[in-house]
Amino acid sequence: MIGKLEGKVPPGPLEQKWRNHKNNSRLVSPNNRRKFEIIVVGSGLAGGSAAATLGELGYRVKCFCYQDSPRRAHSIAAQGGINAAKNYQNDGDSVFRLFYDTIKGGDFRSREANVYRLAEVSNLIIDQCTEQGVPFAREYGGLLANRSFGGAQVSRTFYARGQTGQQLLLGAYQALCRQIALGTVKMFPQTEMLDLVLVDGHAKGVITRNLCTGQIQAFAGDAVVLATGGYGNVFFLSTNARGCNVTATYRAYKRGALFGNPCFTQIHPTCIPVTGHHQSKLTLMSESLRNDGRVWVPKRTEDCAKPPNEIPDADRDYYLERKYPSFGNLAPRDIASRAAKEVCDEGRGVGPGGRGVYLDFADAISRLNEDTIRERYGNLFDIYQKITAEDAYKTPMRIYPAVHYTMGGLWVDYNLMSNIPGLHVIGEANFSDHGANRLGASALMQGLADGYFVLPYTLPNYLAGQIGKRPSTDHEEFKLVESEVRARVKKLLEVNGERTLTSFHRELGLLLWDKCGMARNATGLREALEKIPDLRDEFWKKVRVPGEGESYNQSLERAGRIADFLEFAELMCIDALERDESCGGHFREEHQTPDGEAQRDDENFAAVFAWEFQGNGKVERPKLHREPLHFEAVHLTQRSYK
């Protein structure tokens, strides 16, 4: 039974909470550290940095990832940059401002103390990464460069060309490699976690499947850290990598971990639109493009099929500039995305299926000339050209919103530990510091903060009492969970129906995109909640998973992930229905301001919704736990970008 949800936020004034907490945290002595085995699932920014740092401290770490190398975790794809409150530009930035922007950007649905801590350690991340050799952009004087990103009024974003995520991840990966060579970390690539093992209510191990050999194996540890990233792929099409999944966190949820705010998803406004049925993923075009590009659609539906260059300025609707005169094309992600959906719903969208808006650089090119634009965005224009075969220097880009990031995740306290003792969750996998909407360049910051500078301090609070309590994998709980995992794999292979995995995944994705996407309403959500269980039933009756369990079998991998999405989608819709307000990326059509903006209801919903698993299906609804959010340092305001 789970009692009242305890965020374990330390006492004291906001600025001193983290310092006090560190001072009062427990320690594990150096010679005891090697007695602890820590299981880290995930090798992205969060998992990679955590595994490397814990290894360096002397713990024995086992790190798992599903790719063939830890260097390929999805963090590699982040383009834009990473925020820090260094104030190198002398433009008035500070820890408080970064904290405030982040919490306001999240529409006041995150825990104040966590966000403040995040802003506080942001500076250490830049120091750490620079020392590791991350080649951040520099100025001619040799000092670090910054840019302003995502509509921030200060320049606090550090970047490495359009490859910030890659370079940060390689930094963490190299640190991890060093520990692997030293023997403190043992890496298990191509090994997927399929379940969590609890012993006496504590997270003490995982069951994995070796993706090359199909071998199912149990691993025991003194604590388990999940850093398995986001679940955007529940929508079938997203900017996430193909393998991104909810399996690890969802399995933990089914073992009793609370899932926080599952419906909070971020839809990014600047992605390349869907071109057809064949498409397997969507590609992000960095938000920085909106610094110079102007977004528009034709004013009249009849013009939509015309080549853009033939539509005179007077017949164009620069709708972001029209609606948000002060922020214009730089309006925050959730707002820009919704505005695009709105004009397309009105039938004014462009491109295949009418799902696209123009991002036009003609003005910028005539103002600055083509070379300047090439210098700033050349690689993005190249990506665009590769995918669409169109030249964005000549004709405007077409963009459309796409699922990009999931703010929801397993609920954790200030120590980053879930309600299951020993189970820690970091990075995108936890319910995070981003509330209902994440600001650009803050996910990289959070993943690395968790891994390098928070978990290493808070983990001992759990471990200190756990010496010698690691069970062996012979323990009956391991046997039990392992047999359940085996049974499930067998069951997937035995259905042998006639429908492909893709067809189920696509159907689920379209349904969610429609009913639980950029805009949601009670009727649609109820409809989705009717349909999802049926689709799931059909899956277990009609899916075809070819091949065997004891070999390299990509269909089987996908099948397990899709099966979990089919359950998880229901939880998302339940959460979206329960949160009867609009906030950030969660836009309930019933709750909007007179001019169509998200209308929060702080009185009733200033809380984290954390769901407890009770069983699947229409009858057994998960149980809701609320963690009320208290704000001491900030004043809740209506976000306005007019």
């Binding site: 830890p70 750490q128 000092l143």
Partner: protein, 251 residues
């Protein structure tokens, strides 16, 4: 568009492989090469045949997972691009396309078109890092780095670890991969303390993995999706010579 595929099929490392032909029908020109394989795989599944195994993840050219030799070129005919960034409009309708795995002894085959590239990880483990304990880093701006060096460092650091360089090299040499990492860290002042040891250990590991030797054909540079310049190999040679001199004369 319609294509005939000539694909390498091999159930596992031990079994004998062979080419099999498949039809890809009604493919839209905007379909990516991997999506075309997805479509073929769904059809194979429907016909109860084993789908073609191939690796991919990000599908936008940054993770380095995809690894196909298409018509005799690593990552296919469009350079610079990873296989996942290749679109069917780059092929002529009706043509036969040959798809093979990346071939090199240090990349043992896992299944069909999937190979094991852990050899590259081991080269990095041998020394491709800067030892920097979390908590001990100095303030980031305390060590300025000339922009020129910083730019060269990121050019080298752009490597996505796909292994195409070794796959395309007539000698199956991984010099471009190794050179990229050695150069990235050698251009930065933070990398200086470990410079000598790093290059010697990484080269030793590279040799131990069984990669071939560079004969400066520059085929690696031609297929590299990250546009790593082969001139970094000269840099690696320079770093190596310097390390050898320092270690036999110095000490």
């Amino acid at each position: 568009m319609n294509f005939q595929l000539n694909v390498w099929r091999q159930a596992n490392a031990k079994s004998k492989g062979k080419f099999a032909t498949y039809e890809a029908r009604n493919i839209a020109p905007d379909t990516s090469f991997l999506e075309m394989l997805d479509i073929v795989n769904d059809e194979l599944t429907e016909r109860s045949e084993a789908p073609i195994a191939f690796d991919s993840d990000c599908r936008e050219g940054i993770c380095g997972a995809c690894a196909l030799t298409i018509n005799g070129q690593a990552h296919g005919p469009k350079h610079p691009a990873a296989a996942c960034q290749l679109y069917m409009r780059s092929f002529d309708d009706g043509k036969t396309i040959t798809v093979e795995p990346f071939r090199a002894k240090p990349f043992p085959l896992v299944r069909d078109l999937v190979i094991d590239r852990s050899a590259l990880d081991r080269i990095v483990q041998a020394g491709g890092f800067i030892a920097a304990r979390a908590g001990s880093a100095p303030e980031a701006n305390s060590i300025p780095v000339p922009k020129h060096n910083a730019d060269l460092a990121i050019e080298a650091a752009a490597c996505i670890g796909c292994g195409a360089c070794a796959a395309a090299c007539p000698n199956a040499s991984a010099m471009l991969f190794t050179a990229a990492k050695v150069s990235h860290l050698a251009f930065l002042p933070q990398g200086a303390p470990e410079r000598t040891l790093r290059v010697t250990k990484m080269v030793r590991q590279m040799d131990a993995e069984g990669f071939g030797n560079c004969t400066n054909t520059y085929e690696c540079e031609a297929v590299c999706p990250a546009e790593i310049s082969a001139s970094f190999i000269a840099k690696l040679n320079r770093e190596y010579a310097r390390a050898v001199l320092q270690r036999s004369v110095g000490e």
